[in-house]
């Protein structure tokens, strides 16, 4: 028995050492949104560790103290139905913990869904990120350029990614900048984030989307605003324009390296928002909808 416990401890130590070298991506945030989620994660790990340790300690004490080998042969365990105070405690404390975590969860969820704190007065840089099998297309409507499988963003600026998909559901995820969000074919979803230090960050599709899923990654390169502007000018000077034919070729299933174009595909292949959005079709607003239907029924009668 002792041998097995030693073995277990040994293995745990190895696991801790192995991972101790570098901070984990999610817990190494480079922007306010990811910092919020990292804080929430640390907070929950600490709270939860408290529960796990309580249970574990109780269990070990009980197992050691009440094992049969330690007790008299004629010991008859008592019959205990329950005790309102004890049961009150084991209900009460979890309720308090859940209330606490619920508040944290709600507050932080609202936080990461909106423009990052401190950037509210800025006009965000809007980038459309659309996925196709198995690539990411980044369109900058304002800068009028488009990139494939990599995206440049300015640091210390609010960036808004508008996500949608040209095929299966994918999930846009840059762990060091923000949590993920699905990109889907009939609606546009939004991620607000900001990068607070320059650097290159791993981004990927986190939702299984078929054969080429594992390699469906992209790079996010954050740099100061002036470098970003230079980069935009460079693209305009060097890259080819994106035509509908080229874009359709890009959409073919497969993998591509990193590409850049002038112009965006948004003009000839609009994203599914507004009147193009299947999702918004007649379901945007309840009262508006009822009035519409009301009108229809009036037509019927005349």
């Amino acid at each position: 028995m002792k041998l097995k416990w030693t073995l277990l401890t040994f293995i745990f130590t190895i696991a801790t050492v192995l991972t101790g070298c570098e901070p984990l991506l999610v817990l190494d945030p480079k922007g306010p949104q990811a910092a919020t989620t990292a804080d929430v994660i640390w907070l929950s790990i600490i709270t939860m560790a408290f529960i796990v340790i309580t249970v574990l300690v109780l269990l070990i004490i009980i197992l050691v103290k009440y094992r049969a080998s330690k007790q008299d042969d004629d010991y008859e365990p008592p019959h205990i139905e329950g005790n309102p105070i004890v049961e009150g405690i084991i209900v009460g404390i979890p309720i308090l913990i859940v209330i606490f975590l619920s508040i944290v969860s709600v507050v932080s969820t609202y936080q990461v869904e909106t423009v990052p704190e401190g950037y509210e007065d800025q006009e965000p840089l809007v980038i459309y990120a659309s996925s196709s099998n198995w690539k990411w297309h980044f369109s900058y409507p304002e800068q009028d350029i488009e990139t494939v499988n990599y995206v440049f963003i300015p640091t210390d600026r609010s960036v808004q990614f508008k996500l949608y998909s040209h095929g299966p559901i994918t999930s846009f995820w840059v762990p060091q900048l923000a949590g993920q969000k699905y990109a889907m074919a009939d609606m546009v979803t939004t991620i607000n984030l900001a990068a607070e230090s320059a650097g290159e960050f791993m981004g990927r599709n986190a939702n299984f989307s078929g054969e080429g899923f594992a390699e469906n990654t992209f790079n996010v390169i954050a740099m100061p605003q002036d470098e970003f502007d230079t980069w935009v000018d460079d693209i305009h000077a060097t890259a080819d324009p994106l035509t509908e034919d080229i874009f359709n070729e890009l959409l073919e299933p497969g993998h591509l390296g990193q590409l850049a174009f002038t112009g965006t595909h948004l003009e000839f292949s609009p994203p599914p928002e507004g009147e193009h959005g299947g999702h918004n079709h007649g379901s945007s607003d309840d009262t508006e909808q009822s009035e519409d239907e009301h009108d229809d029924s009036e037509h019927d009668h005349h």
């Binding site: 609606m187 999702h279 379901s283 309840d286 009262t287 909808q289 009822s290 009035e291 239907e293 009301h294 029924s297 009036e298 009668h301």
Partner: protein, 93 residues
């Protein structure tokens, strides 16, 4: 002959026809969406209760508690499913 048409059943039938007529008012009369939906909800659920209690004798056997629990439970979960799905898929998008 009369015992073949018990008054309870006949009344129930007439009542359910009446409910249908009331429900039809949303088609023939001009009213707001909210008023119409209210009428439909009331008539449909009253109609369902008439059928379950009067015609299907939900409460007549020793198992009536189980039967009513089944009905309440399924109604509750049905409503949660409908409104929860609408919330997640349509209203809060």
């Amino acid at each position: 002959m009369k015992e073949l048409f018990p008054i309870k059943q006949v009344n129930g039938f007439i009542f359910s026809l009446l409910l249908t007529v009331v429900a039809l008012s949303v088609y023939f009369m001009d009213m707001s969406f909210t008023a119409g939906m209210t009428i439909l909800l009331v008539t449909a659920f009253v109609q369902a209760i008439v059928q379950f209690v009067l015609f299907m004798h939900a409460g007549e056997s020793d198992d009536k508690r189980t039967i009513y629990t089944t009905l309440y439970y399924s109604a509750l979960i049905a409503l949660v499913t409908i409104f929860g799905s609408l919330l997640a898929m349509v209203w809060d998008m």
